[in-house]
């Protein structure tokens, strides 16, 4: 049933179901609602009694969603060279591009004569980061990437949320592979 605005040409306004008497006395609808929830309750109870997980939730620290998209922008990763040093050349393009201004880079001279600079300090304040991925896009040497998952992206205070160079380098993707790990536009 659709309602018509009086005085206007044949034009439907709201698609609202007209209530029948059965809906009006409310009792049958209550019973129906309770039956639906009771069905859910007993289905989950049956699962739980047979030691399966009832419900659809994910017990987060112990379980992880398996269906993160490969393009999801999660935790930041600093890519390493084969000798374990960061691939970053401290050009500060990512810090300049970062809309949240949460990347702090202090550059120093590199030992390698082929490379001019390397980061002495590389910190991302993840509590300010908006996970836009602009830093990944800006980087000229593909030194910063974002893993698809957001695992352990939690802390008890805001200072723990500042990730330093060591934390950012824990994930070690191979440098010269063809497969793109994580978010890479």
């Amino acid at each position: 049933m659709s309602q018509q605005i009086p005085g206007l040409p044949d034009m439907t306004y709201i698609d609202r179901e007209k209530r029948t008497f059965l809906d009006q006395i409310y009792f049958w609808e209550i019973t129906r609602g309770i039956l639906i929830t009771t069905k859910h309750f007993f289905r989950n109870m049956a699962k739980w009694l047979t030691f399966r997980k009832g419900g659809v939730v994910i017990l987060y620290p112990e379980e992880m969603r398996p269906d993160y998209s490969q393009n999801n922008r999660g935790r930041h990763i600093l890519v390493q060279r084969s000798d374990g040093s960061p691939r970053c050349v401290a050009c500060k393009m990512c810090a300049t591009n970062c809309p949240a201004e949460c990347i702090t880079i202090v550059a120093e001279e590199s030992d390698d004569s082929n490379i001019q600079k390397r980061p002495k300090v590389f910190e991302i304040d993840v509590s300010r980061c908006i996970f836009c991925g602009f830093c990944v896009e800006a980087c000229p040497v593909d030194a910063i990437r974002m893993a698809p998952t957001t695992e352990e992206l939690a802390g008890y205070n805001r200072f723990r949320m500042i990730y330093d160079k060591k934390t950012l380098m824990t994930w070690k993707p191979t440098v010269n592979d063809d497969v793109v790990h994580g978010y890479n536009p």
């Binding site: 009792f27 209550i30 309770i34 929830t37 009771t38 859910h40 309750f41 739980w48 419900g55 939730v57």
Partner: protein, 398 residues
């Protein structure tokens, strides 16, 4: 010479003490169990897991969680050690008094409810679960062969009226809390609670008048005795059989009276924060919650007692099952008491479950809808039910 204790027969004193302790203990336990089951049950029916993190660490790296029950204990500890925040300008005396007005009526109305039938003390101690106590069975068999008591705290002959009287006191808890906390949201909640409870008490009382007419008594004990009789030789004369309509009216108005979910306007958190107990914190707030859970349990007990035969098991008499087809199964007295107690608790648990289920399934009414339902539908329907019942009773039905 009978031994006496402050002028009361010692055995009477002790049995009454045990019964009162057991029944009030049961109510408090139910308060805790309900607050646990509310979490877990709502979680299960919404496809969630529910509280499952708090636990008591055990040696070996495991922790004792008891399916989330430890969360309740953690909550209680948290509320005990939390800052007792108070509003700056408030009426101290009334503010504190309101908690007791909300809490005590919720607990004491259960005093008139029989939890099981008459218990023969000497025979009870011959049963398999009390026989092993050394000395006592012989003592009761020789000294008190005819001592009989009821599993009921107070045997009032105005039981139902007592329940109503105490129930209407609990509105003071809401109104005092709202008025004394010096907060407009609290005041709104208190006014809502007050008008809602008064409106629905009328419908509730009228719905129960039919029951009173049929069984010709307001004594809860006799009400249950009346429900143990059989109609046509096979159908138990439970309230739900004789007054099916009153049952639904009673559930609706009792839930409204208790301010539970479809009718929880006084605590509608999206409109008036937490209603009349907005300004209460820590353990005081917990007391209000606890009183509410105990009231739910009491509604389940009332439904059981008035409409589902109380403790009675169909066809079970004092000596065993008298089946409608003429057969007879003897049951010892100890087992009869256990069966009656078990039947009562099973019914109560079932209705607790049902009320929780309703609470988590239904959306909240609007306030005008609530008032319209109470005055324009429930009240006339209860009156109609009463008139029809009276006519049938007058014509000699039942």
């Amino acid at each position: 010479m009978e031994s006496t204790f402050f002028g009361i027969n010692t055995v009477t004193f002790i049995t009454n003490l045990v019964i009162a302790g057991g029944i009030f203990g049961f109510m408090f336990t139910m308060g805790a169990v309900m607050s646990w089951s509310e979490r877990k049950q709502s979680a299960q029916l919404q496809d969630r897991i529910g509280a499952n993190r708090a636990g008591i660490p055990l040696p070996g790296g495991k922790s004792l969680k008891v399916w989330g029950f430890i969360n309740n204990i953690a909550d209680a500890i948290k509320c005990l050690v939390k800052e007792d925040f108070k509003p700056r300008a408030y009426d101290l005396f009334m503010y504190n008094l309101a908690i007791f007005f909300a809490f005590i009526p919720a607990v004491i109305s259960v005093a008139v409810i029989p939890f099981a039938g008459e218990v023969h003390l000497a025979e009870l101690f011959q049963s398999w679960y009390l026989k092993w106590i050394p000395g006592l069975p012989e003592y009761f068999a020789t000294n008190l062969p005819n001592y009989v008591f009821r599993v009921q705290v107070a045997n009032l002959n105005v039981g139902l009226l007592f329940v109503f009287a105490v129930g209407s006191i609990s509105v003071f808890g809401a109104i005092l809390a709202g008025w004394s906390s010096n907060n407009k949201f609290s005041m709104m909640g208190a006014l809502r609670a007050c008008s809602q409870m008064i409106s629905y008490e009328v419908a509730m009382g009228l719905a129960l008048l039919g029951i009173i007419f049929i069984y010709q008594t307001v004594d809860v004990w006799s009400l249950v005795q009346g429900q143990r009789e059989l109609a046509f030789g096979w159908l138990p004369k439970w309230g739900i059989v004789l007054q099916p309509f009153a049952f639904f009216l009673f559930i609706a108005s009792a839930v409204a009276e208790n301010k539970r979910m479809p009718f929880d306007l006084p605590e509608a958190e999206s409109e008036i924060i937490s209603g009349y107990y907005t300004e209460y914190s820590a353990f005081k707030m917990l007391m209000f919650m606890f009183a509410e859970f105990i009231e739910i349990c009491f509604v389940a007990i009332m439904i059981t007692t008035l409409f589902f035969g109380g403790y009675s098991v169909p066809y079970l008499m004092a000596d065993g099952f008298h089946w409608p087809w003429g057969a007879f199964t003897a049951v010892s007295h100890g087992n009869v008491v256990l069966l009656e107690l078990g039947s009562f608790l099973t019914k109560v648990f079932f209705f607790c479950f049902l009320l929780q289920q309703a609470r988590w399934s239904l959306p909240r009414f609007r306030y005008d809808q609530l008032m319209r339902l109470g005055w324009k539908y429930l009240l006339p329907l209860a009156l109609l039910n009463l008139v029809v019942t009276v006519i049938i009773v007058a014509l000699g039905g039942f």
